[in-house]
């Protein structure tokens, strides 16, 4: 990723809702599966999936918002 994209990503991650951020980081940094995240946070797997998906949507919107203002 280009430096400018990284900056946008950094900001977008900081602005993610807490639940979304926790799920995304547990998946991408700690490499936990959805099932493992659900056990860790004590929430349903379907909730983990939804929060993970929401994080992807928000980050993609942020990155594309730059290209398509």
């Amino acid at each position: 990723m280009a430096r400018q994209e990284l900056e946008i990503l950094e900001k977008a991650i900081a602005e993610l809702p807490e639940g979304c951020k926790a799920v995304l980081l547990l998946r991408k940094i700690e490499l936990l599966s959805h099932r493992e995240i659900s056990e860790r946070l004590g929430i349903a797997v379907s909730t983990v999936e939804k929060q993970h998906a929401r994080a992807l949507r928000l980050l993609r919107s942020a990155l594309e918002g730059r290209i398509d203002p």
Binding site: L6, K21, E30, S33, L56, R60, E64
Partner: protein, 330 residues
Amino acid sequence: MSTTRTDLDPSSDEAALWAARLDGGEMTDSQRDELDAWLASDPRRRAVLARFCQLSVDLDQTLPELLAEGRVKIPRQTPQPRLAWPRRWALIGLAAAAAAVGFAVWTGANHAKDERIAAEVGKRRSFTLADGTKVELNANTSLLVEAGSSERRVRLADGEAFFEVTKDKAHPFVVQTPAGSVRVVGTKFNVLTEASSRLDVTVVEGQVQVRVGDASGEPVTLEHGDRLSLADGGVSVTGLSPAALEDSLAWRDGWIVCDGTPLSEILPRAAHYFGRSITATKGAASVRIGARLKLDDLDQFLKDLQETEKTLQVTHDPAGGARVSLRGEN
């Protein structure tokens, strides 16, 4: 942000959900059928899903980088109570190495907590875990020591580490990476990983088992001098000569040893080490280098490179990165 085309596209929410499931879920057969049906019902959906999957893969690489640079912080979580590792497998930290000294304290099976150890950009660090296992981390690498399992389990997302694992047959030591896992009882070995696309495992002593991909894969057993490489989806195992084995571990002393190695293989390692963008032009990428290059300092590294191969020239960009080209090449 709410007016981007992503939000206007109704299939986008569903595509994000499938991308999330493909990345982190253990999909059942019926879910796979459901996904196939979803894709088949509108030919445009595959492209939307592909973009989310690409973002997901990009995040595999960029998130650990942002974390290593301190640009992303891990929020505090309340961990669920889990089975503790044996008490002696607590992280007590510290051993001196060529570079900086890492230090982390975690004790007590009653407060079992995952612990992260890391080496920042441009530094190498070494740690001793409380079971006596020694870990050396290459620069820009972070390792998660998991609590709460009957196994000794660590996670390596992106980077390189050398392990000297204390023998304990009752508690196997497992290194989990995005591309697969390495399981040992007691041995010395090296692991290099770059997201889910690349994995190198080199064994110095003893025996290790590597599973490429998820836990369902057939394990491959490696012994002294063996190297398993996963690149571009293919797995190969080669036996290294004692000299080649030593060269591949030279990073522990801060060296990259090149033996007719193309620049296109050397620069990504240096770029990861220094946390900078270092690229080569098409002409320079295929230049083969035969030299030992010191990784203490980026400027010195680039100077040594030009010294070794006089046809190369380096230009710096304002962002701190560098581009290597052939002299006279546009």
